[in-house]
């Protein structure tokens, strides 16, 4: 699992590459949780190359979403695969995130 973070004024883009399973989520949790500071702006979670996500990954997404909710920013989830869209659907995440 690889995570790339690109920052522009008021915009942070996070690229998830690979499988975001439990061990991967534990690995990147610190980096992702650190993005709480940017939660006032826009955070784009680029899932173009994300092949898999489990609840541990979903928790990180929800964490950022809650932070954005508190700080008045917004989280955009970008380019999710059908499989991940199914997971989002099953967990009600489609309603929580702006999907592009």
């Amino acid at each position: 699992m690889e995570v790339k973070i690109e920052r522009e004024p008021n915009l942070v883009t996070v690229f998830f590459i690979g499988r975001l399973d439990t061990p991967a989520a534990q690995e990147i949790s610190k980096d992702v949780e650190a993005l709480k500071q940017d939660a006032a702006g826009t955070i784009v979670l680029d899932c173009t190359e994300l092949s898999y996500i489990s609840s541990s990954g979903l928790r990180l997404f929800l964490y950022l979403r809650k932070a954005a909710g508190e700080k008045g920013g917004k989280v955009i989830v970008k380019s999710i695969s059908d499989e991940i869209r199914t997971v989002f659907m099953m967990t009600g995440f489609l309603n929580l995130f702006e999907i592009q």
Binding site: D21, S54, T86, M90
Partner: protein
């Protein structure tokens, strides 16, 4: 202890070898001295011969000198005598002249052949010297009858000069005499008279008696008639032996041979034995007189010296041999002492061997140990570095549970072996009524600490394997972590704890894990991991791990490990006791009859194995990717839940996953021995809630329930069993 008499065949053999050595040395020495003696004798014999011969020659010369003088004196007067024949009355002058002019001659006569002179039919004037005075007598007396005397008859007979047999002159001073007589012929060639010169032989006996070439050497002279010439009373003042010789030996054959040889004018030597006395006699003839002389030398005189030397040499040799015997004896005694020590050592080794047998009989050695059971395959071996050692293992079955242990007593040899024996009995005693490894180890520690005056300690590992479930509870006391052989090979996570016997009242923590069908435990002592080769490299964990690959049966494992260690150690001596114990579990355990099975440790990192496992199942059943993705997710959620929350932190635990397909139903069983937890009781997640209301947790179980068609939980035999079914 009974004392064995020390007598073994080896000892006797070496004594015999010693005796033989002495014998050979003695023979060699004796042979040497015999050779030496022989040559010395030969030399001495030659020397004696040379001395005797040259003495005879010198004496002969002396005699010949006198004989010559006497013969010359008589011959020189022959012509006067011839001339005086016509005047017999003047013949006495001839005699007087001979005696007067020649000191050698002591008497002289001119005796007419009877009837030659008509006037004097018998006429023999005789002149002799007595005390420097010349006296003239007539020998023509009735009693004397000179014409019959040898000195008169013989020269006429043979017509030439003749030396008479020696005789004792009774008329004069009773001295030994001999007479040289020559016939006188008148101008007509008729034998007219005999002219004589007498010489005393006293000087001769003097000469002969003075032949002192050896202390007891004596010279003797024999006349042609076989008369021994000595002084008048037939005695030689010098040596009584000669009297023996002449008076007693005479009858001896040897002596007769000598007489014969001498009388026939030969020269040579002869050995005469008489009365245990041997004498060498050297003899040679005296020219003209028909005499023969000899020198008699006692054997002792010639060889006495060499005999003495030989005696001294022999005595010294005997002394040397005696010393050799003493040295050999002390060597043999030393050997006996050494042998006695050896014997004692052998007895100790024997006792050690018995002790070793006793010790070995304390550990179970018959494999397979439970031939009726098909759920257990075991193998073990113990190889002490010395005859006996401080390693131990033990096991026994109680209540369908295998109690097993391995231990290593500090130190080696007898002290370690005694402690090992004690440890083993305590284990048996305690484990017969305790059901918890920690309790067993704690009780053993207290027992061993209580009587530990020699500060010996024992590293110990004790486990109890439930044959029905494969569950193992174990407790370690400072021993090497055993290896557990599942899909992978790992050291068992153990709490180190202190070894037994160090501190009384210590508490030992218990740990637990599970074994599946075909899993195995490998227990060993540091004699394996620390086995050294000649370069002092240790066998080490890596080699142990490598050797554990590729086998299933315990016996093969054991043999392979032994082979590997032997190969590694090579010729280096075994430095420590080496003990190995394989326990290969073949029980059903938690084993569902499943086609697919996976055991994961309670580590998050194990999750990747799970997705591989699920992928394989998907491939096998040709599941489409979106279905498989869902199953994958649900399984990850179910298993992650166990890994993260079932076991207390820092506790080793496992989660087993089985998959099976019955008809359209693909069933997964997730089992663990963690704390009881029923996920089906978790409250459902309301996915319609807004961001603020949504809880972070609970999503995993929600996903499992959403994806799977059926989720069932049961608690069975201390296990959480979650059964997940997906219709495909």
């Amino acid at each position: 202890m009974s004392k064995n008499p020390i007598s073994n065949p080896f000892g006797k053999r070496s004594t015999w070898a010693g005796m033989l050595l002495v014998f050979v040395a003695a023979v060699t020495l004796e042979a040497t001295s015999l050779v030496q003696y022989y040559y010395s004798r030969k030399g001495l014999e030659e020397e004696a011969s040379n001395r005797a011969v040259s003495q005879i020659e010198a004496t002969h010369n002396k005699i010949m000198d006198i004989i010559d003088q006497a013969e010359a004196a008589v011959r020189n007067s022959v012509w006067i005598a011839q001339w005086s024949l016509a005047h017999p009355d003047s013949l006495h002058r001839v005699c007087e002249r001979i005696v007067g002019d020649n000191p050698v001659i002591v008497g002289s006569t001119v005796a007419l052949v009877p009837g030659y002179d008509k006037e004097h039919p018998f006429f023999a004037p005789y002149c002799c010297r007595e005390a420097d005075t010349l006296t003239t007598l007539s020998l023509a007396t009735q009693e004397y009858d000179y014409p019959s005397q040898e000195w008169f008859v013989k020269p006429i007979e043979c017509g030439q000069g003749y030396w008479s047999e020696p005789y004792i002159d009774t008329g004069g001073g009773e001295i030994l005499m001999t007479t040289y007589s020559v016939p006188i012929t008148d101008p007509k060639g008729q034998t007219a008279a005999v002219l004589t010169g007498d010489i005393s032989l006293e000087w001769l006996t003097g000469i002969m008696g003075n032949i002192k070439i050896y202390p007891h050497a004596t010279g003797l002279m024999i006349s042609r008639e076989g008369k021994w010439m000595m002084n008048h009373n037939m005695k030689l003042a010098t040596d009584e032996i000669i009297i023996d010789v002449v008076e007693q030996i005479r009858e001896q054959d040897d002596f007769k041979k000598l007489e014969r040889a001498m009388l026939s004018g030969e020269s040579g030597n002869i050995l005469i034995s008489y009365k245990n006395m041997k004498r060498y006699v050297y003899y040679a003839p005296v020219e003209r007189t028909g005499w023969s002389m000899c020198i008699i030398i006692p054997h002792e005189d010639i060889f006495g010296r060499v005999r003495k030397i030989n005696l001294v040499v022999t005595l010294m040799q005997l002394l040397g041999l005696a010393m050799l015997i003493l040295i050999l004896r002390s060597i043999v005694r030393g050997q006996n002492k050494y042998r006695a020590l050896n014997e004692r050592k052998r007895m100790m080794e024997n006792e050690l061997h018995i002790a070793s047998n006793i010790q070995m009989s304390m550990v179970p050695k018959v494999f397979p140990p439970y031939p009726d059971r098909n759920d257990l395959d075991m193998a073990a071996d113990i190889v002490p570095a010395k005859e006996i050692g401080g390693d131990m293992y033990d096991y026994f079955m109680r209540d369908n549970k295998l109690f097993f242990c391995i231990g290593d007593v500090s130190g080696k040899g007898i002290p370690a072996a005694l402690v090992m024996a004690v440890t083993r009995s305590i284990f048996r005693t305690v484990a017969s009524h305790e059901d918890s490894p920690a309790a067993i180890v704690t009780a053993m520690n207290n027992s061993l600490s209580d009587m530990n005056e020699n500060s010996m300690f024992v590293t110990f590992f004790c486990g109890i394997l439930d044959m029905a479930t494969g569950h193992i509870r174990y407790c370690n006391a400072g021993h090497n972590p055993p290896m557990i052989l599942t899909d992978s090979i790992k050291a068992m996570p153990v709490k180190p704890n202190l070894p037994l016997g160090i501190a009384m009242g210590m508490t030992f923590e218990e740990q637990e894990t599970d074994m599946q069908y075909d899993d195995a435990l490998f227990l060993y002592t540091d004699g394996l991991s620390e086995a050294e080769n000649i370069d002092h490299e240790q066998f080490g964990m890596e080699r142990i791990e490598a050797a554990l690959h590729g086998h299933k049966k315990s016996e093969l494992h054991l043999k392979n490990m032994q082979k590997e260690v032997e190969k590694f150690v090579g010729k280096a001596p075994q430095s420590d006791d080496l003990t190995m114990l394989f326990i290969h579990y073949l029980g059903e355990g938690r084993q569902p009859a499943a086609n697919h099975r996976l055991t994961l440790a309670n580590e998050v990192g194990e999750i990747s194995k799970l997705s591989e496992f699920v992928e394989n199942i998907g491939e096998e059943y040709n599941l489409d990717s979106s279905l498989l993705a869902g199953i994958n997710l649900a399984m990850e959620e179910a298993v992650t839940n166990v890994i993260l929350y079932a076991y207390p932190e820092d506790t080793v635990g496992h989660v087993e996953i089985c998959a099976d397909k019955q008809g359209n139903a693909l069933t997964f069983v997730v089992a663990d021995k963690g704390k009881p937890f029923d996920p089906t009781l978790a409250p459902p997640v309301d996915i319609t809630l807004g961001v603020e209301e949504r809880r972070i947790g609970g999503l995993g179980i929600h996903l499992v329930r959403t994806i799977m068609d059926s989720v069932k939980y049961s608690r069975d035999n201390d296990m959480n069993i979650l059964t997940l079914t997906k219709n495909i």
